[in-house]
């Protein structure tokens, strides 16, 4: 089993296209994993566990790696988080568990994410099934959306004996784990294998069904004992600037999706690319473009470095990938004749702070300039599912700023049968996969309590999501 440690050396010019889209972190070898696991202090009531929104018993799963009980380690993880394989890859661990690790005071924090991936890879490789469908309790639940929130809720419910059907609008299940997380962070297969695990618990996943179009909400509410909405968010909103419809202006999420589902060689990336928006999605689009071969990739952001929403480690990563940043720059027009030729921008200055404390950018008169480019990628957030929220309003479901409003202890909406979780309720705080997983768990426990009338056997793990430690 012993493998040699292979340092990550990313030299694009030495790698072919396929290689550039391999997982960025190589898996830990057995020896690396055991050495790292033995560094863990096995704290009691550990801060890492508190910082994990799903409260995985981290010291225990790490201890089990150190004793060679990797199967038991994987079980400990999955008991708290059915999407442990995805989370081990996508979680902003620096902000969560690793950020809370006591070892960071005079040392390096334990590599919790990569150890978790080690245990998850082991379980996947050996195809170990840890859980079974619970004894049927006669209740039926519909889950809308098969992203992390939906899958987590569906899986937990199946374990508790519910008959669960999950409706997914897309061709493949998995939500953004399948379509939105860059492939060198999480390969599509990992997400699909996780979907398969949930299906193995008896959950029926029906893809290609757009709820609200192919099936009416009223029918679901009538036919099922409870409905969980985990529909996430929509595509990138419009910039509302002239030239936005010129070919070569892309929706960032569509761009990422292409790299997840298409042959890499068939994807077109410009040679000079402007990415608009400096959140994590912007960073993803920019780094993908670099890896696809774009020579110059610039992230254009109207505020300054200090206001940028991307995590610091993501920013560092982008810089290392050769992405440049233009701060205090606001796009005002896409220029071009039938194809993108440039992005016209105006310089900004920071004025007085707004309500959120961020200083408001103000245009500097007469400072317009055109940045030559042949592709513009929009990455300025995600649209709300307005039509769905409106449709639900008819059943008394309340919303706020386009997000479904739920009680944080139960994830229940104003309608007693309708629950919701994941990005579609994340009006406040950071939207993340692990928070969505926890919402699914909370909702499953609440549905169990409401219908079966007992406290869920899993309840000890359930607590409302904490915002990531900053």
């Amino acid at each position: 089993m012993a493998e040699h440690y292979k340092p990550v050396k990313y030299k694009a010019w030495e790698l072919n296209l396929e290689e550039r889209f391999q997982e960025y972190h190589p898996p830990l070898s057995e020896r690396e994993a055991v050495l790292e696991a033995n560094r863990c202090l096995y704290c009691h009531d550990a801060p890492c566990m508190v910082a994990c929104p799903t409260h995985i018993d981290i010291p225990t799963f790490i201890k089990k790696i150190s004793t060679g009980n990797v199967k038991g380690s994987a079980k400990t993880i999955l008991e708290a988080n059915l999407l442990g394989a995805t989370c081990s890859r996508v979680c902003p661990v620096e902000e969560l568990c690793e950020g809370a690790c006591v070892m960071k005071h005079d040392h390096k924090p334990i590599m919790i994410g990569r150890l978790q991936r080690y245990a998850m890879d082991y379980a996947a490789e050996k195809n170990i099934k840890f859980f079974q469908a619970g004894k049927a309790n006669g209740y039926k639940v519909a889950v809308i959306g098969s992203g992390p929130a939906g899958l987590s809720c569906a899986g937990e419910l199946a374990k508790l004996g519910f008959d669960v059907t999950c409706f997914e609008k897309k061709e493949m299940a998995g939500g953004l784990s399948t379509y939105g997380i860059v492939v060198f962070r999480e390969p599509v297969e990992v997400s699909l294998a996780e979907v398969k695990r949930i299906e193995d618990l008896g959950v029926k996943v029906k893809t290609g069904v757009n709820v609200g179009v192919d099936i009416k909400f009223e029918d679901l509410i009538e036919q099922y004992d409870a409905v969980f909405i985990g529909m996430g968010m929509g595509n990138v909103p419009d910039l509302s600037i002239p030239g936005e419809d010129i070919p070569g202006v892309l929706d960032g999420l569509d761009f990422i999706e292409e790299t997840k589902v298409k042959k890499l060689a068939d994807i077109k990336a410009g040679s000079r690319v402007c990415v608009i928006g400096a959140g994590n999605t912007g960073i993803d689009c920019a780094t993908i473009a670099r890896r696809l071969g774009s020579e110059r990739v610039t992230i254009v952001y109207r505020r300054s470095e200090a206001e940028m929403t991307a995590y610091h480690f993501e920013y560092q990563f982008a810089l290392g990938e050769g992405v440049s940043f233009m701060f205090l720059t606001q796009p005002v027009e896409v220029v071009g004749n039938g194809k993108v030729e440039g992005l016209k921008c105006i310089r900004m200055d920071l004025g007085a702070p707004d309500k959120s404390g961020r200083r408001v950018p103000e245009p500097v008169k007469g400072s317009e300039f055109v940045m030559p480019c042949d592709m513009v990628i929009k990455a300025i957030g995600q649209k709300k599912h307005k039509n769905v929220v409106d449709a639900l309003a008819k059943f008394g479901v309340k919303s706020e700023n386009g997000y479904v409003l739920v009680d944080s202890e139960t994830c229940r909406s104003a309608h007693p049968k309708i629950f919701a979780g994941g990005d579609c309720i994340r009006n406040k705080g950071e939207a993340s996969t692990v928070a969505a997983v926890q919402d699914g768990k909370i909702a499953a426990a609440a549905i169990y309590k409401q219908l079966v009338g007992a406290t869920s056997p899993n309840e000890k793990h359930i607590e409302p999501v904490l915002s990531p430690v900053k």
């Binding site: 225990t60 201890k63 004793t67 038991g72």
Partner: protein, 446 residues
């Protein structure tokens, strides 16, 4: 899931993991918490004669960044009143009827005293006794503990006193601080003990402070020998266990053995059981991490058993015992040689310097061609004809599976030293004859 239940001379336990008689098994609160976290049994902290404790009681050995690879203590038996202990033992057994509750006892060397404590303990409903003949400090100076265990006749005598009145199984706990552990083990058998347990702690001094010149642990400026336990004593415990478990007299009496001394994980427990232990006891690891470690012990052992196809622990208890042998019966014709895998070698050259300075000078640093390219670093290569197969290089190599010890056929006769001494007495007593035999047998020592 595999079945971990054991029947230890009539004492039933849901799994082989017991708390050793020590601080973690000091009170009802602790033992009941441990049971609810999964421990199968507990040997209550030794009760008996009145005592007074000192502080500091513990010293530890930390090794290159790891805390507590060994722990030493100068603690005595329970310093809580005996009445209180008996009440709590009764309560614990009542609340946890399916867990093994065993009471460790030690009183002064008087028949009445032993028989009286045994009767009082029986009233609690506990499942059995452990006789503490091992405490190496404090109690031994008062003629108890190791002072009993180090004299086989005393061991036998006290065991007999106890057996006269006990209706529950009696385990005799042995001290490692003797020249031959088999002697007190046989004495316990003669005294009709129901079972054995080992090891108690090993005599030790943990160290000296370079600035204050104090002994570790420091008791108000003084220090003295204490009992050593934890991972560091495991090899000693395994040896003593195997010596007792493979002794014919002990085997004939069919006494189950409870093994301890450095058990920290399910892997350690499996090793003790492969060498004949039916249950294992744990102290130091619990003192370091808490009761929660039992979760991984149970799960890890059970997963391992599933992998190996063992349905119950009895499928593997004692499985490696027949391999315990003596030097005189080892095969002199079995020969290995070291082989270094150049693909894995990281060129730390530790094997070279170890063989050169401390073994047989048979690793050469060579300029090698690998995959057609000449390597920049010199590569250590074993001169196999000169390698004696001592395995030192493979032990110092920091890379897993880089240096393997490979069995080779030298055409030497497969004979043991004992056989050779019998068939060729001249060879084993005369260097010239030995030289001649080596030539004959193709044994070449570089």
């Amino acid at each position: 899931m595999a079945n971990l239940e054991i029947d230890f001379c009539g004492i039933k336990s849901p799994n082989p993991f017991w708390l050793a008689s020590a601080p973690p098994a000091n009170s009802a609160y602790q033992v009941q918490k441990a049971f609810s976290e999964g421990w199968g049994g507990a040997v209550w902290k030794t009760i008996g004669a009145p005592v007074l404790n000192v502080s500091n009681r513990y010293g530890t050995i930390d090794y290159k960044g790891s805390k507590i690879i060994g722990l030493n203590n100068v603690e005595l038996i329970s310093d809580r009143p005996i009445e209180l202990n008996l009440r709590e033992i009764a309560e614990t057994k009542r609340n946890f009827p399916n867990n093994a509750v065993i009471v460790s006892v030690m009183v002064e060397s008087k028949k009445e005293a032993w028989q009286e404590v045994v009767k009082r303990v029986e009233e609690t409903g506990a499942d059995g006794f452990e006789l503490n003949f091992g405490c190496p400090h404090g109690m031994s100076e008062r003629g108890m503990g190791a002072a009993m265990g180090q004299v086989p006749d005393y061991t036998c005598m006290v065991t007999e006193w106890v057996m006269e009145v006990a209706t529950k199984p009696v385990i005799v706990k042995l001290t490692p601080n003797v020249t031959d552990i088999v002697q007190p083990a046989r004495a316990a058998v003669r005294g009709r003990a129901s079972a054995l347990s080992l090891i108690n702690t090993v005599n030790s001094i943990m160290g000296v402070d370079l600035d204050s010149f104090e002994i570790k642990p420091n008791v108000g400026g003084k220090g003295g020998h204490g009992g050593y336990a934890g991972q560091a004593v495991k090899p000693i415990a395994l040896h003593l266990l195997s010596a007792v478990a493979s002794d014919l007299e002990v085997q004939k009496a069919r006494l189950p053995i409870s093994g301890m001394g450095g058990v920290e994980t399910w892997r350690d427990a499996v090793e003790f059981m492969l060498l004949g232990a039916t249950s294992v006891q744990v102290c130091t690891a619990v003192m370091h991490w808490g009761f929660r470690i039992v979760d991984d012990m149970i799960e890890g052992m059970s997963n391992w058993m599933d992998d190996k196809g063992f349905l119950t622990v009895y499928d593997f208890i004692g499985k490696s015992l027949p391999r315990i042998s003596n030097f005189g019966d080892f095969d002199l014709g079995f020969q290995t040689t070291a082989r270094i895998n150049p693909d894995k070698c990281i060129h730390c050259n530790l094997c070279y310097i170890a063989c050169n300075d401390a073994a047989h000078q048979c690793i050469d640093m060579k300029s090698l061609q690998l995959n057609g390219e000449t390597m920049t670093a010199l590569q250590p290569v074993v001169r196999e004809e000169d390698c004696v197969g001592c395995a030192l290089c493979s032990r110092v190599c920091p890379v897993d599976d880089c240096i393997s010890m490979v069995e080779i056929d030298t055409g030497r006769p497969h004979i043991t030293w004992n056989e050779l001494s019998k068939s060729r007495p001249d060879v084993v007593s005369d260097w010239d004859k030995m030289e001649q035999y080596r030539k004959e047998a193709n044994i070449h020592i570089h």
